[in-house]
């Protein structure tokens, strides 16, 4: 199968280049229109912050990977790329790459939970733009099946692999229902904002943010629809919160052990989680000595992240096995899209129907007529199949291209339900 693929991703290009080549949904749609006009009528275009990729079955043999590389590069003005910035694939390797992408084993964050949805969205756009042919439809179905199998049959996407998400995972090991808990996020930089978003997504009952620059805190509070606390006053309110998230750029300790002790006394020693993901640290580490205080800093969260990354890495062979199985299954189907096996399958299929009907009705005929019945029914089948057989032989001889022939044969197989009949027999 002449499936070409070109990828520029985190393994081949620095973040700056990947960012530049990132295509918004509208840009993807515009590029698909261009590709359809110039290169191929069925394919797939994926663009995320870590990769931009084009897959497609070319309309002519003159179209090569170089055309696709140029297409990506020219999609954005003034981008300098080299051949080393691209990975190129063909046929089985292209499909293998797509399957690796959708399962997350090719992601920077192994088992990335978002990539499956991103690829599905790209397929959806391809469908909408009529960029999907008979063969690519089967490629998409196989890719989605591989992605689903990887999620359900392996642990490739389990466990937190970012510090802020690991913090949330840890909090959930202490409290059973975040819908009844309150959290204070101190510091509204990028890390603090991500942490606040994670807590909001988990349905925290009360979320408050504070920052040395009140304006920034207000912006985040408005964005997340949560409450705001003045930085100068937050220490007086520590006891009201079950979770305190610190992510400021302060050079000094912001919260001392004494502050936590006072807060714990006020809250009757109800458990309190302190997540200090600032470097240097914002909370006195000695606070962990206080009963029912669970203090964790960036190092302890990194332990969880590393463990989960290692576990996901251990799952890669299982995912690769699934990919191999689906590749074999895909190419078994693809190879069946040849004239000779299709003619044979078609004849077997019709003959099976004939034999079944003859067997059902054989008792209605005398012993002398039974042999004639066999001959007559076989002759009918031969006559019915004569024209399709001739046409099938012509498909390969016409020189319209292997993909075109495969498409036509695939339609015939689908029309007569040959593959369905074969799978019923297997079951």
């Amino acid at each position: 199968m002449n499936l070409l693929a070109v990828s520029i991703n985190h393994k081949t290009a620095p973040v700056k280049l990947r960012e530049t080549l990132y295509l918004s949904e509208n840009e993807v749609r515009e590029l698909i229109e261009k590709v359809k006009r110039e290169y191929f009528t069925q394919g797939l275009l994926i663009s995320t912050c870590n990769r931009t990729e084009i897959y497609g079955i070319p309309d002519s043999k003159a179209i090569t990977h170089l055309h696709l590389q140029r297409l990506i590069t020219e999609s954005k003005n003034s981008v300098n790329t080299t051949a080393e910035n691209f990975q190129t694939f063909i046929s089985r390797d292209s499909l293998n790459h797509l399957f690796s992408v959708i399962t997350g084993i090719d992601s920077m964050l192994i088992g990335d939970n978002q990539i499956f949805k991103q690829v599905k969205d790209s397929i959806h756009i391809a469908d909408e733009m009529h960029f999907t042919g008979f063969l690519m439809r089967h490629v998409f179905d196989s890719a989605i099946r591989v992605g689903k199998r990887a999620i359900s049959e392996t642990k490739i996407s389990e466990g937190a692999v970012t510090v802020s998400y690991a913090a949330v995972q840890l909090i959930e090991k202490i409290f059973s229902n975040l819908g009844k808990k309150s959290a204070l996020v101190i510091g509204t930089g990028e890390t603090g904002e991500i942490a606040a978003k994670h807590l909001a997504d988990k349905g925290i009952a009360k979320l408050t943010v504070t920052n040395r620059t009140t304006k920034k805190a207000k912006l985040l509070a408005n964005k997340l629809n949560c409450s705001l606390l003045l930085f100068e006053e937050f220490k007086d309110h520590l006891h009201k919160y079950d979770i305190i998230f610190c992510a400021t750029s302060s050079e000094d300790i912001l919260i001392r052990k004494q502050d936590i002790e006072t807060a714990m006394k006020k809250r009757g020693y109800a458990p309190m989680v302190l997540m200090d993901i600032a470097v240097p640290r914002d909370i006195d580490p000695e606070s962990k000595e206080i009963d029912y205080v669970f203090y964790h800093d960036i190092d302890s969260l990194n332990i969880i992240v590393e463990q989960n990354v290692a576990k996901r890495r251990d799952e890669i062979p299982k995912v690769k096995k699934i990919i191999e199985e689906e590749l074999d299954s895909f190419f078994e189907w693809y190879n069946s899209l040849q004239s000779a096996p299709t003619i044979k399958n078609l004849r077997d299929h019709f003959d099976a129907i004939r034999a079944e009907e003859v067997e059902k009705n054989i008792n209605k005929f005398s012993a002398d007529d039974r042999e004639k019945l066999e001959i007559v029914t076989k002759r009918i089948i031969n006559k019915i199949l004569h024209a399709p057989t001739v046409e099938l032989k012509k498909v390969n001889d016409s020189g319209t291209g292997a993909e075109d022939a495969a498409t036509k044969i695939g339609i015939i197989r689908s029309l007569f339900g040959i593959d369905k009949a074969k799978s019923d027999i297997k079951e």
Binding site: K173, D299, S300
Partner: protein
């Protein structure tokens, strides 16, 4: 039926060992595919155990509550049965091996030493005694489960405090859930033990006119009852929580075990029937 009883007596510890092994393996591996296997093992074990208890009751003409080894086998059954119900209701599955191992120990001791007992003391042929013992055993099952969850709470608490993120961290439910499970099991145990004590107090003077309130079993049970009562009272009316209550529950469980050993094997007690 005696050969069947003997056969089941040998089979039961093996079944508990098998169930424990499946639960333990699942705890170590955390594979989703073991969920149904675990359920099947625990169901077969409980069903076989129930058959054993029924056959035994029918064959020896008394429920198996007349000596410590009979009580141990009932205790093994009631602990695993209570856990099974808890697992079905809460869908918390990671704690099974820690509870089933206790049933395994009780059943193993019972299977090794239990005897065919056709004759029982006249004093034990009483309906009130049956209700008393059933309540006491279910109550102690509640305390056992409470202590196990308490132990798991303390282990996870320490792991979280010291940044240990191993199997305990990955497999157990969160601290709040463990605390709740321990507390609710203790409440159920306390209510049932209270009923057992009330029935015991009614029945005791009739059965043993010369009994003494200084009997080691009565003192032990009294201490256990007071400890759990204190724990429940302080949880509701005071600010006791977490570690303090859990330690109280574990202490109560250890005293209950010590009191049973003392009254049945070491000291002279009216409560020793073996």
């Amino acid at each position: 039926m005696i050969p069947v009883i003997h056969f089941l007596n040998v089979i039961l510890p093996i079944l508990y060992l098998g169930t424990f092994s499946v639960y333990f393996y699942d705890f170590m591996r955390g594979e989703k595919k073991f969920v149904n296997v675990k359920r099947l093992f625990i169901f077969i074990t409980l069903f076989t155990h129930l058959i054993y208890l029924l056959i035994r009751t029918n064959e020896f003409d008394h429920p198996p509550i007349t000596n410590v080894f009979e009580i141990f086998t009932v205790l093994a059954f009631s602990i695993t049965f209570s856990y099974f119900l808890l697992e079905l209701i809460t869908d918390i599955r990671g704690t099974g091996p820690f509870i089933i191992i206790i049933s395994l120990v009780f059943q193993l001791i019972s299977s090794l030493f239990i005897a065919d007992q056709f004759e029982v003391k006249e004093v034990l042929k009483n309906n009130l005694l049956g209700v008393h013992v059933v309540n006491a055993l279910l109550g102690y099952s509640g305390f056992t489960i409470s202590a196990v969850y308490g132990f798991l709470y303390l282990t996870l608490y320490n792991d979280l405090k010291h940044n240990r993120f191993g199997l305990i961290f990955n497999r157990l439910p969160n601290l709040e859930v463990l605390e709740k499970l321990s507390f609710y099991s203790a409440i159920i145990g306390f209510i049932l033990l209270t009923v057992a004590i009330i029935i015991g107090v009614i029945w005791l003077p009739k059965a043993f006119p010369k009994f003494s309130f200084l009997d080691p079993k009565l003192i032990g049970t009294g201490i256990v009852w007071m400890l759990y009562g204190l724990g429940i009272f302080t949880k509701f009316f005071s600010r006791w929580r977490g570690k303090k209550l859990i330690l109280l529950s574990i202490t109560g469980f250890l005293i209950a075990i010590f009191s049973t050993i003392l009254s049945n094997f070491l000291a002279s007690s009216f409560h020793s029937f073996y």
